[in-house]
Symmetry: C2
Subunit: 163 residues, 2 copies
């Protein structure tokens, strides 16, 4: 398989207009609300029963990310790490995943909170968040064990495409 072609199923709208100042990860985006609107009326049927879940995974495309570099200094540290050991958006396949709160579904529009995506981000998939599948006990979290986990970490332009 040489290439894979995907078509966005919708778009996220958030208050975050640019990378600089956008909270990094939903855990640091508490209080920020947004919407996810699907782009095909046929998808409404696929949303049935999703409203019973407190949280969902939104899988999306980092459409404004720069080309990937294999060594990066992530927002949370001041030392370089291998790209795949970080959650930086500039990746060979710039796919993001955020576990956000699902507040309400209104037709093709999902009302979300804890959103850390940029306004206008194309959506690739929605999945229910199920701790049995997504939470695993771990002892070691690599370099993140050695740096403080501040609540106020926000992005800057370091991984942003230059226009």
């Amino acid at each position: 398989m040489t290439t894979i072609t995907l078509k966005p199923i919708g778009q996220i709208n958030t208050p975050h207009q640019q990378a600089s100042g956008t909270p990094v990860q939903p855990c640091r985006a508490v209080g920020y609300t947004g919407t996810l609107t699907l782009n095909d009326p046929a998808f409404a049927e696929g949303l049935v029963d999703l409203d019973g879940f407190d949280r969902i995974w939104v899988i999306y495309y980092f459409d404004r990310a720069a080309d990937a570099k294999m060594t990066v200094v992530p927002y949370r540290d001041d030392k370089p790490h291998g790209l795949f050991a970080t959650r930086a958006p500039a990746r060979p396949n710039p796919i993001g995943m955020s576990c956000v709160k699902l507040e309400k579904i209104d037709g093709l529009t999902l009302h979300l909170s804890d959103v850390d995506m940029l306004d206008g981000t194309p959506v690739l998939d929605i999945k229910p968040y199920v701790p049995t599948y997504d939470n695993y006990p771990v002892t070691h979290c690599g370099w993140t064990d050695d740096v403080p986990n501040r609540d106020d970490i926000v992005a800057d332009s370091r991984f942003e495409k230059q226009t």
Copy 2:
């Protein structure tokens, strides 16, 4: 953005040759080991420091999934649900995510356990698993709250492309 083109960064090899009998989700795939091999020597630099993480997210392409249907009966239930309220592989953009154990890295090859992907699955991305970003307390998990969570749930051919 009308279409997005991605290029796999590697391949997963597992003992699971077909959907039928493959454990559903890593939590039910304990004891199954596999490898993830990156396809570009340049990616080795991106793996630096990943070995400090006990678990990683593998983001991949369900290359043998059938076309999406908006109502599905998932493996865990005998009642139909909206596709986006399930983790079924046959989706508009058939992207899968599995939180697997990282045992060892050897050059471009990651040795994994708890693998629930089919042998030969194309890899789109690797991210470190960080509970701070990926674990959130929830009270409601929709329809999954109403069905037993059996450890022995395996897939069958219902979401598989017919060849």
